[in-house]
């Protein structure tokens, strides 16, 4: 099929689909799915997710079929919807990542409480840090993770991790010195 002809065929199929033709939907799926898959794959770079998002894109195509304006490119419209689905997916992923960071921090908090410290002053000094600073310091100094790995886990910049670690260490040092002076 030549390109102008294919465009026309797709546009006609889309109009038939809007009129309620299941066969038109199936034909559209066969024509558009491989191209949409490539489009989504290029943006998410994950095969399983690409398949899920492809189905979601067709679900959205079905729900929003009234937004196709006859006379415009059906393929362009479908790609617009696929982009919408990909952006929404990214947004959901970002929010989920933030949620997972919170869970990680909670787990670290539990580790911190469960740890049997011989160094009671350090434990007391750590208790004075904010949960975020404590988690960052813990990951760096107890778990031995790199700044980049911590940044990835917490969803913040590596520079911010360095800053947090440095501030936490300074606060700990000050707290330990105060403790030593009191004794």
């Amino acid at each position: 099929m030549s390109e102008p002809n294919e465009t026309e065929v797709l546009d006609n199929l889309m109009c038939e689909y809007q009129r309620g033709s299941l066969a038109a939907f199936e034909a559209l799926y066969r024509a558009l799915a491989p191209r949409l898959r490539g489009f989504i794959r290029a943006r998410v770079r994950h095969d399983a997710r690409t398949s899920d998002l492809l189905q979601e894109a067709f679900l959205e195509i079905h729900r929003s079929r009234h937004t196709y304006l006859p006379g415009n490119s059906a393929a362009g419209w479908a790609f617009g919807i696929a982009l919408n689905v990909v952006l929404r997916h990214r947004h959901v992923e970002l929010r989920r990542d933030r949620h997972e960071v919170a869970t990680d921090t909670l787990e670290l908090e539990a580790d911190f409480r469960a740890a049997d410290f011989e160094l009671q002053p350090l434990q007391e000094a750590l208790a004075h840090l904010s949960p975020d600073s404590r988690a960052t310091w813990w990951m760096r100094n107890i778990d031995g993770l790199s700044f980049d790995a911590i940044a990835h886990q917490l969803g913040i910049a590596a520079a911010a991790v360095r800053l947090r670690c440095s501030r936490a260490s300074r606060a700990l040092r000050a707290a330990l010195e105060r403790g030593a002076d009191n004794e």
């Binding site: 809007q18 299941l22 939907f25 009234h66 617009g80 952006l87």
Partner: protein, 229 residues
């Protein structure tokens, strides 16, 4: 991967809901449907609250002309928002930001020109009170218009809801201000930027928030529908 057959779950879902649909009208036609709203926003505030007392002192190009220009700017932005909401017709993000900058420039130019032609001041002690009064007098016109625009955009599928909502909110803000400046007697830049500009910002933020929330709810509904099948 073989893409020749529609997955059964998707096919069932489509088959279960395959009623014919009426396509949306083109953005330009939907914009024409908003002409009555633009007229209400233009004539509503001065007709309801009263025409500005010093209207006769302003040259007509400054009063009617600049208001008409601001209203047209708002309408153009609304057209862009309606277009942005249709998949495949969305304009690049940079264009949207350029349109936002243009809207801000239009508002500033109209306000500063009017202040230059007919400077009217208020006593410093009552400037905040008058600013708040203007805000509360504008909102009854701006908020219902925002709801109507939100409904129109929600019928489509904006790819970037916050940007689209920001655009129609800004458009409503400009169109409301076009009418409001025919009522409000004060041209002092502080008042105009704080009160009238404040309403425009409230409109833009409200539009962005509303569009994002609506799209979020639509997405949740889509997910639950898919889960049911």
């Amino acid at each position: 991967m073989n893409e020749s057959n529609v997955p059964a779950s998707l096919l069932n879902l489509v088959r279960a809901d395959l009623e014919p649909v009426t396509p949306l009208s083109a953005p330009s036609r939907r914009l024409l449907a908003l002409v009555p709203l633009a007229l209400v926003l233009f004539f509503g505030p001065p007709m309801y609250w009263g025409w500005r007392a010093n209207l006769a002192l302003l040259p007509s190009w400054t009063s009617w002309g600049l208001s008409a220009l601001e209203s047209l700017g708002g309408a153009a932005l609304m057209g862009l928002a309606l277009r942005q909401a249709v998949p495949g017709l969305a304009v690049p993000r940079q264009w949207m930001w350029l349109a936002f900058a243009g809207a801000a420039l239009l508002f500033a130019s109209v306000s500063l020109t009017t202040a230059h032609v007919l400077p009217t001041r208020v006593a410093e002690a009552s400037s905040w009170q008058i600013a708040w009064e203007c805000v509360f007098m504008e909102l009854p016109f701006a908020l219902p218009s925002l709801a109507i625009s939100a409904w129109l955009v929600a019928r489509a599928l904006p790819t970037r809801p916050a940007l689209t909502g920001g655009a129609y909110g800004l458009a409503i803000g400009l169109m409301t201000d076009a009418g409001m400046r025919l009522f409000c007697v004060v041209d002092e830049p502080f008042h105009v930027f704080a009160a009238h500009g404040g309403v425009i910002l409230i409109g833009a933020a409200g539009g962005a928030l509303t569009a994002t929330l609506i799209e979020h709810v639509k997405y949740r509904r889509l997910q639950s529908r898919a889960a049911l099948h």
